[in-house]
């Protein structure tokens, strides 16, 4: 139901007083500090750790070894992957003690399992933002949206090459405005709240733990 009368009323009330002057805001690539790749890695690590993110710097193919060593050690068993490259590698190379679930069916078919069983999700990222310590995520059908919100632990792989200095720089240089995906997301640390007497607590709805593996 669209209240088209409301539409006309609101717009005509506004149009009486508006001056349509065209865009007068400033859009220009902001001056960045010009950080080197290593500086960007250092900055994002520092910012992530400041908000309880766990960060490791690894060589390209070491991440699977990290998964196989660390996840069992921490007592995690049910691992969720997508159907992309990471998912394929994990499915082939994961240790037997890890039970791998692939996000291949629509959510309606296995919601309970996702909410109640999965311990950890492992995903790729589109990039990172050094100044705010953020992961940039464009979920896809291979790595759907709920992988980033529902499991208690999220392990994200981030290529060092893809870390930008600022969000603004990334949006402008990659021309995001040409075509936005269904959903895009910045994630900066594990889920948190300070709603109880200003005391910071982690893992209120989203992941309690965010592990970022910076590769390369």
């Amino acid at each position: 139901m669209t209240m088209s009368r409301a539409r006309e009323q609101i717009l005509s009330a506004l149009q009486q007083y508006s001056e349509n002057g065209g865009y007068r805001g400033i859009v220009k690539t902001p001056k960045e500090e010009g950080l080197s790749k290593e500086d960007r890695v250092a900055r994002i690590t520092q910012m992530m750790e400041a908000v309880h993110g766990e960060v490791h710097r690894l060589l390209d193919r070491e991440w699977m070894k990290w998964i196989n060593t660390e996840l069992p050690k921490r007592g995690y068993k049910h691992i969720l992957v997508g159907s992309g490259d990471i998912g394929k590698i994990v499915n082939v190379e994961a240790m037997d003690s890890l039970q791998i679930h692939s996000y291949t069916a629509e959510i309606e078919e296995w919601k309970d399992q996702l909410f109640n069983q999965v311990d950890v999700s492992i995903t790729s990222t589109r990039g990172g933002i050094a100044s705010t310590g953020s992961l940039v995520i464009w979920p896809t059908s291979a790595e759907p949206r709920l992988m980033y919100f529902v499991p208690p632990v999220h392990v994200a792989l981030l290529n060092a090459e893809d870390i930008f200095e600022s969000f603004e720089q990334m949006v402008i240089e990659q021309k995001w405005s040409k075509e936005m995906p269904t959903n895009s997301l910045l994630v900066s640390g594990p889920s948190k709240t300070a709603d109880i007497q200003q005391v910071l607590a982690y893992g209120v709805h989203g992941p309690k733990q965010l592990v970022v593996l910076i590769l390369g």
């Binding site: 409301a6 007083y17 508006s18 640390g189």
Partner: protein, 473 residues
Amino acid sequence: MKQGNTLSDRINNSLGKAQNRQNFRSAMSGLMEKRAAQFPDDEKLAKLRDRGREIRANSLRNLPYLLIELEKTLTENGIQVHWANNSFEANQIIVCLLQQNDAKSVVKGKSMVSEEIELNSFLEGHGISVLESDLGEFIIQLADETPSHIIMPAIHKTKKEIAELLHEHFPELPYTEDVDQLTQSARKILRNKFNQADAGISGVNFAVAETGTLCLVENEGNGGMSSTVPPLHIAITGIEKVVEKLADVPPLLNLLTKSATGQTITTYFNMISRPRQPGEKDGPEAVHLVLLDNGRSKIYGNSSLQEILHCIRCGSCINHCPVYVQLGGHAYGTVYPGPIGCALEPMRLGINKVGGLTSLCTLCGACEQVCPVQIPLPKLINRLRAESVLRRADYTSLIGAGSMRKPLESWGWRIWKWIYRNPAIYRVFSLIVTRTRELIPARMGRWARYRFNPKPARRTMHELAREAGFDNE
């Protein structure tokens, strides 16, 4: 507006709650420090605020055109747009959407606009269960209270009060005052609800006209889940929240999170541009946006008040207000408290209804100094005071303009003006007043309840000055 009947009842009530005042004092001090730590460089901050102001001013200059563009891009993206003149229409739209989709249970992300239209009670009246999923909102929903702050709705509660509240509603959970454990209890309770909800409702922080994108800023992940897990997502926002370009978003986001809670960025920044597409495995099948006017277009028409629509709802003005920190949010009796409330609510609801709020301002200017988009709040509040005692309202005037004009007071001021404009009369007047000082009543009633009784001096200042050797000229 549950707490007390009149503004002064509510103020007295709030001032009497020592624990509450202590809670607000410590919370606001912490927030002020955290914000200051995020902006160490005054020059950079000034530049960023200039930019924030310019982006919002641009949005407002072109508001109707941007709304049309937003509607076009959202529609192309598959998000349906609905327009509502007022709370009633917005509630009707939402309840119809829910009924069409046979939705019986709703999870909500935090939305002040939904508070504005009192959506929860409306939906519950139609047999639809509503669950607030933001932890603070969840707490006050359990307590059947309203938010006392626009960013931290349960800021007035201690952890002990929250522990007791949770225990009362969920006796199966063990009693604890440990914040981590309380948070985990809430996680458990709310998880199931997300899983089972038929629809999600959220607010919007920025709506991007260029790309048809709805942006949500949050820390908990409940906004992300409310807008992803259920098959239907309804977002609601005021018409002023639109921005023109996607590139407008990063600077505003930067200002918003730093000003609001002193965070470099929130945990989640969610940009939603489409419902679930073929092949995608999650996300809502349908996304709707309700654009709410509710008095905003009327404010837009008043050029001297329009700037209030620049607001990005960071709550920084509230955190820095010396009056809010003493009273807390409930004393205001409106959805938006603090400086933003004192300015916005009389404009939105009418001076005849809540014009008294403007007298809660000391005009100290702290709010304007910290506002990330440089809204001159004291100027606007002062302007409202003038509107509230206007002699003749015209078509640009706000609802209830002139309604606070008191005949006796306005006569008093007219006589004052007459005396002070005529030197001879002024001299006679001041002589009489100084010579009859003993006749001033010992008790001046309500006026002197918290003030000293005024008593004129023995001699006028002119007399004293002449004695000291000053001439008339």
